[in-house]
Point group: C2
Chain length 168, copies 2
């Protein structure tokens, strides 16, 4: 299964694609969409929307994963994040991708095995798991992390399903 992870933001939206083959995880692509700070908000959202649409058209992922947000620094930053997140979710919906949301705790647990891991540890583990010498963009690394989290949890539920069906 090919998974698109997204880390949306009004200035930078990271994306990462991983391919899950059995227990193996293969890195397919990662990158970031930068919006121009001088552009009006609708133009920036269109840039995010069209950029992600292009990524989906290129790599044909079968699922999308995105971080669930519970808290934001303040109402203004939450509104900004909401705009970008809305654009990202719409691209997934428009492309008929099943979308899963994971909390930061779930992502850290899946990638590092420890829910309170530091940002640097997560980035290091993403590189190690995907055999990448480096990842240019922090947001791209975060996007890969949520994709890995989805791979783990869907892998787990698949294994559970198989185990259950064997038990029947």
């Amino acid at each position: 299964m090919r998974i698109l992870g997204i880390d949306p933001g009004s200035r930078v939206t990271g994306f990462g694609i991983v391919e899950q083959q059995g227990n193996r995880l293969i890195h397919v692509d990662n990158g970031a969409i930068f919006t121009r700070s001088g552009d009006a908000l609708p133009a920036r959202l269109k840039l995010i929307h069209d950029g992600l649409h292009q990524v989906i058209a290129t790599h044909a992922p079968e699922a999308m994963a995105i971080e669930q947000v519970f808290v934001a620094k303040n109402a203004m930053s939450a509104l900004k994040l909401g705009h970008a997140r809305g654009a990202a979710l719409l691209v997934g919906a428009n492309n008929h991708l099943p979308i899963s949301e994971y909390t930061a705790l779930q992502v850290k647990n899946a990638v590092v095995g420890y829910g309170r891991a530091a940002k640097g540890q997560v980035q290091q583990m993403v590189r190690a798991l995907l055999n990448l010498p480096e990842i240019a963009q922090e947001d791209a690394s975060d996007a890969l992390a949520v994709a890995i989290c989805h791979a783990h949890s869907s892998g787990l539920s698949n294994r559970l399903e198989k185990a259950l069906s064997r038990g029947r």
Copy 2:
């Protein structure tokens, strides 16, 4: 000029269309898009997106107006509003509509002539200005109000331009 006003919300998104003919304002349509609370967020955003896209396809507005948000009750509601707002702005951008944002103060000033007018006064003036016996949805009324605000301010800038060109 035909103006689409939008009052986005995660549960209800109001829309209103007014046609400006010289100094006259004519009501064209108003309504609301209701999202199903049981639906997942991406599906709800798609409903808003597709609904507004349909409104634009039906009425072919030449401009879009939306309320600018400075404060929100809290970060969680700001995030929710941001999702819906992002979807609405994207529809405008995808349909190549110029989008103008107005503060609540500007809308109230344009509709009632008083920036601190109560919600009920604004609704009453919207009905009076557009010669409508009633408006079913509060959010649709708010959407019409921001469309009226855009009509006033673009009418004003047009008149200013004409006056300036006469003065040249």
